[in-house]
Subunit: 240 residues, 2 copies
Amino acid sequence: MQSKYDLIAQDLLSKIKHQQYAAGTFLPSEKQLGDLYSTSRETIRKALGQLEQQGLIQKIRGKGSIILDLQRLTFPISGIESFKELTQHQKLVSETQVLKQIKTMSPSHFNGLTLTSQPAHYLERLRLINQVPVILDCDYLLSPPITTLPKTAGENSLYEYIEQELGLTISYASKVVTVERIPEVTAKLLGLGSEQLAVVVRSLVYLEDTTLFQLTISIHRPDQFKFVDFARRTKVTQEA
Amino acid sequence: MQSKYDLIAQDLLSKIKHQQYAAGTFLPSEKQLGDLYSTSRETIRKALGQLEQQGLIQKIRGKGSIILDLQRLTFPISGIESFKELTQHQKLVSETQVLKQIKTMSPSHFNGLTLTSQPAHYLERLRLINQVPVILDCDYLLSPPITTLPKTAGENSLYEYIEQELGLTISYASKVVTVERIPEVTAKLLGLGSEQLAVVVRSLVYLEDTTLFQLTISIHRPDQFKFVDFARRTKVTQEA
DNA sequence: CAGTGGTCTAGACCACCTT
DNA sequence: AGGTGGTCTAGACCACTGC
């Protein structure tokens, strides 16, 4: 269910996108927004907090909430987003080729962690944008919780299948991004020549109840790789 | 000033780090924490929200807040952190060589954006970890707001100088990470051979009042580059 | 001084999980 | 049914900004 502050955040987001609130100007004050949406100030503040988090506005004490103008290049690739969601937002012509889909055991080491090996669906997919291969995705989908994996799920959207067909809630991920030399076979798949350096993103993805369900190794063509991020300075002192 | 929920978050963080609350177990309930800290539940919720954001806990409705165990490898390199802060957290032997420090004009194009060129301090610094060069940082510090820049600021911590000496508050940044071919001179500085591929991070950094104050081009040795991230799945539908 | 956002409270109702 | 977190309210006081 959508909460009231989610709806307000979405409404403000769309009003910002459609320039009803212009970049560089201030939003109505929290009190005014409370009157507009007939709600309390704390609820408005939750909505504004979401927008601030995403880098759409900046709150300034004593003045108001100003609309930022970074979105021009902020397709947030940070976060957890499926390839399908990503390309759709950016309106790209994309294609996915399923190279392999078998049942196997998950690896026992990943990102420097030791994991218990367990049954999994292994999926290997080549991603193309404008007919050019850009990413090779190697996924382990653990069973449980992913017991069955129809062939169409990999071809279309894996996350759509998991969230909508299986009714699971994807919650968070930890990722490690490195640049590595890759095997010649892999380089060929991505259309790389003698240069075998690629960007490798290794992710562990978890459900709402903290169950690990996916391990992914994502190999990107370096010349096509672009990672856009918005970050806020954290004050939390991570002292020893 | 530290707010009550900041203090509570820090206290919980340190208790988690010192294993007083063990990974995999539940924190006391929000009600109990409210009694423990003699505060209202909403205040406790703000503290827990911070910890959840950083990936230290996962809240589960109907059950409680469980302590996650990812931190083992989560030195959050995402976010805005100075080189000094970064190396200190990880207890590394680091060194900074200032190669150049001059007054000039800032570039008018950056990350695909058109900016107004203005006076700036240009700073070029080579970063070494364990005596090995790993990063070349090229900074433009705009004046205003950075009018004077003592030589020591670049050698020690630039952010310390800006936040503590100048009393400015660093707030947010937008970054673009790519892999690029770099000039031979630059490659030599980083100790790279014929291979001239490097990871390039271009950042725009802003103050609390949305003033842009820093443009940075950070060139990383690919074999030393490692980016660790924690991400939560966002529900906010960024529809057309 | 009035207006703004930042924090905090004490209560309420709900949805969910467990027993 | 009782405990948990998720949402929402109506009010309060504070710190900061601007005039």
